[in-house]
Symmetry: C3
Subunit: 149 residues, 3 copies
């Protein structure tokens, strides 16, 4: 890729991540699905023990069941996107998330406020950039619980 093509790819990957966050926060699961490589791997084991999920279908199912009743805010900052080949790229995003759980949630969590980084890879499939791997690392998470467990 030449310089211009590289800049175009970087902008497209930034918009991919923007759509990812917006689709999660506005619960547009169909649009979310289209952003992912079929074999996308999501690693949220920093938050959920054993939380490594593979495949778009399973990830969307997990998100739907765990987040549909939750007000979520996901913000991404200061992307560092690097092309690793003409069809693959790597990225790091600083992040902040706020989750507000409904009353009586089975998790006994009222709210979660976290900070960290997404470490990601992307792949160009059928002329569109898609998520290949997403790993969340944490600097800090504050959880407010409804009961002492």
């Amino acid at each position: 890729l030449n310089d211009l093509e590289r800049l175009l790819a970087i902008e497209e990957i930034k918009m991919l991540k923007a759509r990812y966050f917006r689709c999660v926060d506005t619960k547009q699961w169909g649009d979310f699905e289209a952003l992912c490589h079929a074999d996308v791997l999501l690693d949220i084991s920093a938050d959920v023990p054993g939380g490594v999920i593979t495949g778009t279908t399973k990830i969307v199912e997990m998100m739907k069941s765990s987040l549909s009743d939750v007000i979520t805010v996901h913000h991404g900052h200061c992307p560092e996107i690097e092309l690793t080949s003409d069809t693959t790229a790597a990225g790091i995003w600083a992040m902040e998330d706020v989750l507000l759980f409904p009353e009586g949630a089975s998790s006994h969590i009222k709210s979660l406020h976290g900070y960290g980084h997404y470490i990601e890879t992307y792949e160009l499939v059928a002329n569109r950039w898609r998520f290949r791997t997403i790993k969340l690392t944490r600097l800090r998470v504050d959880i407010e619980r409804t009961t002492i467990r």
Copy 2:
């Protein structure tokens, strides 16, 4: 527009929004005015019932009278900017705002902490990108009041 011109326009629109936030938060109303199309439409009806205001003069008046004594922080994240013609564009921004009202404010509000998206359009006028329409949507707003109303 070719690819390079499109990237240049996207970067200019990102800087337009950056200046919008900075001018509001540092109360530089003259500079703010210059960012807007004369017929700009601002829709903050998600926050203020009936809050649709047209025209730069009216918007600046409203902002001056409602925000001059308020410490405001507006942050924009993850822009999705699309050129819709050579002289028009559309954008979505994730956002967070924090407003801290002075003691004794007539609104009886101490603070507001909100999350949402700006849905916007832009127009190139006299070789500079300007705001044409701005609509705020909300994921969540937390308001702390000074009195029970």
Copy 3:
């Protein structure tokens, strides 16, 4: 510089700032050092009276001694980057930071939550953009103390 070179420089400067924040928040002081011009000037006098420090070595020493035990989150938003020559640039970044101090910190501070702007300049040295000057201005800082002082 032509338009493409200018866009490339802007993207590199954005990534420079991304690395700055990430290196501070993950305490990678060696990587941090490499981002700075040898004579970099850091002005945090808005937070620390007299806090103007010159030279990478002194800045890294100060950061190591004051932040190694502190959980820090630094987020940058809405960059306004302007090339001022082929090898110099100026930037403004909206910012938010959250600092969580360890128990028993000598500062008697539990946490700091701030909002403001970084006003910066950059210089191209040995083909890489580096920080030349960094000045922090504040819109608002909330400090939670462990004792009344």
